[in-house]
């Protein structure tokens, strides 16, 4: 019995956001595409689950670069262009940063006024007076970098044109966020801390986080704000999967790709765990290069040594540890007042938090999201949906044993719940109706991603997006094979992964053109 065509133009391994975006873009161009997804749901980590009849968001998930309907940013434009309709809800505040040791407790909101001033600059100025001009100047710089990055996403320029038209991007590209904040701006330490709270959404301390990425993130969050789907992340994933199929993509779930078949340095197909050998000209791969070159390419003699060198040298980004809770009281009754809280139990220092992520537990910087405030209907009346997250490094978990697993997750989760309970002055342990603990092992189980990584490779100064872009064309080590997930150019995040998928599809379309001519 044959379930597949004899041949596809493109096989996409992994039906998550990047893979689905690549597939949609390719199918729009009339290409014959097959998506093979190992899980029985689309979306990868952008998913949800149901416990006792109640749906729970898998972890903290926000869509960026949407902008408002009236002022759409590039992700909204792309989804509109593809005809993907999602019921987006704007999240109320950017974040609250709570750091008692620093005496910091401040809530910031997104928004840029027509005169170019920013809402959050005024909010900070209320407490740290006399800082708003510098903050406005910083955020305008961020915005300028953001605009340039988006422009360069679609266009190629000479170095001179770059400098003429995108001076702020060019001139900050060689610096870390910390260098720019320390050198080019006159801001008190506390304000710099406040403006660094989002570091965890890249998982890179600001001392090694390229300013380019910092600026993009700040502008993105502070300009348009972020969004969640009414039907949880699963709504977004299903809406995209539906569109793929509507565009003629064959989308098969429950199919684990074990091997990528290569001949004469060119891919020609895949083999699944079920034993199907399926042929194609091009492959977009969600599995990390480490996994692809380490064990998927068949025969292994087809792996160029440069490819191994690349995969071995790439610095692995963070993974996830989340406690997802349904609580038996309303947020008000539990003293939960905010949608998004970053909390620090020691003086705020991203280098220290980063070091803490190399060990299990003892994490002082937590992200707590109360989904009720973005999506009031996400739980039955009188209940609360709350997630607590830290993003440690995979290296912290390399010695973990299966026998210790249940106890390990509970111990760490308990500590995290305890910290948040302390901030709230309410013992959340007494209110747990449902609890799920997500670890790197969970990530690995559902996605098989290398070492449970969720953010691809580090956005470090020696793996900067600028350097990635410069060498993009050189890093296709096997012809016809392109990476398609957060380990690619733009890195982590849902919006970024849609972009990673589009970049993958562009590469494939260019190869197709070359092959034709």
């Amino acid at each position: 019995m044959n379930f597949y065509k004899d041949h596809y133009d493109v096989i996409v391994i992994g039906g998550a956001l990047a893979g689905m975006s690549a597939a949609m873009s390719l199918a729009k161009e009339g290409k014959d595409v097959l998506i093979l997804e190992r899980h029985n749901l689309p979306g990868g980590m952008a998913t949800s689950f149901v416990r006792s009849g109640m749906e729970m968001e898998a972890t903290l998930h926000e869509m960026m670069s949407l902008g408002l309907k009236e002022e759409p940013l590039y992700i909204r434009k792309y989804l509109d262009e593809m005809g993907v309709a999602i019921d987006w809800l704007r999240v109320p505040e950017a974040y609250r940063l709570l750091s008692h040791p620093d005496g910091i407790d401040i809530t910031l909101h997104a928004g840029r006024r027509p005169d170019g001033t920013w809402v959050c600059a005024d909010e900070i100025d209320m407490i740290y007076s006399g800082t708003k001009d510098e903050i406005n100047r910083l955020l305008e710089l961020c915005r300028s970098v953001y605009e340039s990055v988006l422009f360069l996403n679609e266009h190629t320029l000479s170095k001179l044109e770059m400098l003429m038209k995108h001076e702020p991007l060019v001139k900050t590209a060689g610096y870390s966020a910390k260098e720019v904040l320390d050198t080019a701006f006159n801001l008190p330490e506390a304000v710099k801390k406040i403006l660094s709270a989002y570091w965890i959404y890249v998982g890179q301390p600001i001392s090694t986080l390229p300013f380019t990425i910092y600026a993009f993130l700040m502008a993105d969050y502070m300009m348009g704000g972020s969004f969640v789907a009414r039907g949880f992340s699963h709504e977004m994933s299903v809406a995209m999967a539906e569109k793929c199929e509507e565009l003629g993509v064959q989308f098969e779930y429950g199919q684990n790709v074990e091997k990528i078949l290569v001949r004469d340095n060119h891919v020609y197909g895949v083999r699944t765990s079920r034993g199907d050998e399926i042929h194609c000209d091009y492959i977009a791969s969600a599995p990390y290069p480490n996994t692809v070159y380490g064990k998927m390419i068949e025969p292994q003699s087809e792996v160029p040594k440069e490819a191994r060198q690349y995969a071995n040298a790439m610095p692995m980004g963070v993974t996830n540890f989340s406690v997802v809770l349904l609580l038996d009281k309303s947020p008000e009754e539990l003293n939960i007042k905010d949608y998004s809280v970053f909390s620090s139990d020691i003086p705020f220092d991203t280098d220290v938090f980063w070091e803490e992520g190399k060990k299990i537990g003892g994490w002082d910087y937590l992200t707590t999201i109360c989904l009720n405030y973005a999506n009031p209907d996400c739980v039955p009346e009188g209940m609360t949906s709350l997630s607590i997250t830290f993003l440690p490094l995979p290296e912290a978990f390399l010695d973990l044993k299966a026998d210790e697993y249940f106890e390990f997750k509970r111990t760490v989760a308990k500590e995290m719940i305890g910290r948040v309970s302390k901030h709230l002055g309410v013992d959340l342990m007494e209110h747990i109706q449902e609890i799920e603990i997500e670890t790197p092992v969970t990530m690995s189980h559902y996605t098989s991603d290398y070492r449970g990584g969720i953010y691809g490779y580090q956005h470090s100064m020696d793996n900067s997006v600028v350097g990635r872009l410069e060498d993009l064309d050189k890093e296709f080590y096997i012809k016809g094979l392109v990476g398609c997930a957060s380990h690619q150019l733009v890195g982590d995040g849902m919006a970024c992964n849609i972009n990673n998928g589009r970049i993958a599809s562009k590469a494939i379309l260019e190869w197709m053109k070359e092959a034709e001519s």
């Binding site: 029985n40 709504e235 429950g254 995969a311 299966a402 070492r451």
Partner: protein, 392 residues
């Protein structure tokens, strides 16, 4: 605009590009792939694997316990109360799956000679698979299983340390697992099992239950059909439940569907808060036409088109049975685990036609309802239907 100085600023891009090239050139040419986290994930959530029956013993005049060992390697860790799914059961022309609560303890599965047990009463769920097990399965038989699954276990961060189990019929099995684990010192809870049976000879695992009584485990048999039974008589009423509860208590309920409805009502009388009630999923309804909201219509047979990739089959589907059962009768392999509509493993797209989904077995996500996805084990055809399923 300047950061550190014009020249240093404009050469920044080359600086980071060079730093990256330097990093990459430091990488090894060897294949050093290793992913210990993936290895743990595979040990905790293994792919389906083969097990062999090594021992069959009577658990009551109508129930048997089957001890199974892995054909190779280890068994995954699990929580007392979780279930195993028997995959690829071929009975006659039917290809089906069944979930059974594991009646042995987690520590026994992680011992030097790992095993697990399921205890199956004949006649359960129309008796199709349970009778097969009871009558046919013998030592040496091999099966493909997948485990562990289910949310029915003591979660110390959520549940009270004092627990009362409300069990009926073969619903006793997860509590036997819990009791053994408690006595082994690896599950920290106090368990009182209220076990309802019609007559004392129906009690499943009687001897085991006698042997697990300890300072932390108490077993109370509640017999409904024997006038002269010396112990507790009748049903699992609010009064009886109150008698055996002390302080903050979590109630675990496992048994046949009518018992759920009854016990729910009794717990409501005691004003037990929702989070103190844990219910095991209860399988497919015996008669779907009696489910709330089932439309007025007579039993009939529909055409069900099953799409797998580019392949299509057209089979018959009875309105009285789920789409999953229709496929199983036709020998089409499809994924099911809990068979109660909850786990979503049999999620599939309804391409055309109409189905009935009972509210009690509707574990679907919000967006899946919106986009017409159904769980095949809990969707009953009301017209000819076309579905797209996972290629198994």
């Amino acid at each position: 605009m300047k950061v550190k100085g014009f020249l240093q600023d404009v050469t920044g891009a080359s600086r980071v590009t060079n730093a990256r090239r330097k990093r990459i050139s430091s990488g090894s040419y060897l294949n050093v792939y290793s992913d210990p986290i993936r290895e743990v994930a595979k040990e905790v959530h293994p792919d389906p694997f083969k097990v062999r029956v090594v021992y069959v013993t009577d658990a009551s005049p109508t129930a048997r316990t089957f001890r199974l060992v892995p054909c190779e390697g280890k068994l995954p860790p699990f929580e007392a109360g979780q279930y195993v799914s028997f995959q690829d059961l071929r009975i006659g022309d039917t290809l089906t799956t069944r979930p059974f609560s594991i009646s042995s303890a987690p520590f026994e599965a992680r011992s030097e000679d790992p095993f697990f047990e399921v205890t199956i009463r004949k006649g359960k769920d129309n008796g199709f698979v349970s009778n097969y097990f009871y009558n046919e399965v013998k030592e040496g038989d091999e099966f493909t299983v997948e485990m562990p699954f289910g949310q029915f276990f003591h979660e110390p961060m959520r549940d009270a340390k004092n627990a009362v189990a409300l069990a009926g019929g073969s619903g006793i099995t997860p509590f036997v697992s819990m009791a053994k684990e408690i006595n082994h010192g690896t599950l920290d809870m106090n368990l009182t099992i209220l076990y309802g049976s019609v007559s004392s000879k129906d009690i499943i695992l009687k001897e085991t239950l006698d042997s697990v009584e300890s300072d932390r485990v108490k077993v109370v048999h509640v017999i409904s059909g024997e006038e002269d039974y010396p112990g507790e008589k009748g049903f699992l009423t609010a009064e009886l439940i109150r008698k055996y509860s002390s302080g903050d208590t979590t109630y675990y309920v496992c048994g046949p569907l009518p018992m759920y409805h009854f016990v729910r009502g009794e717990l409501a009388k005691l004003e037990v808060p929702e989070k103190r009630i844990r219910m095991e999923v209860f399988g497919a309804p015996v008669d779907i036409t009696k489910a709330d909201g089932y439309p007025e219509c007579s039993a009939q047979t529909f055409r069900l088109t099953v799409v797998r990739g580019v392949h299509e089959d057209v089979i018959e589907a009875s309105s009285l049975e789920s789409l999953a059962v229709a496929m199983e009768r036709a020998g089409i392999p499809n994924n099911t685990r809990c068979r109660s509509g909850a786990c979503g493993y049999c999620r599939c797209k309804l391409l055309s036609g109409e189905v009935f989904v009972p509210a009690e077995g509707d574990g679907r996500r919000y967006a899946d309802k919106m986009y017409g996805y159904v769980h095949a084990c809990s969707a009953y055809p009301l017209t000819d239907c076309k579905i797209k399923i996972i290629i198994k």
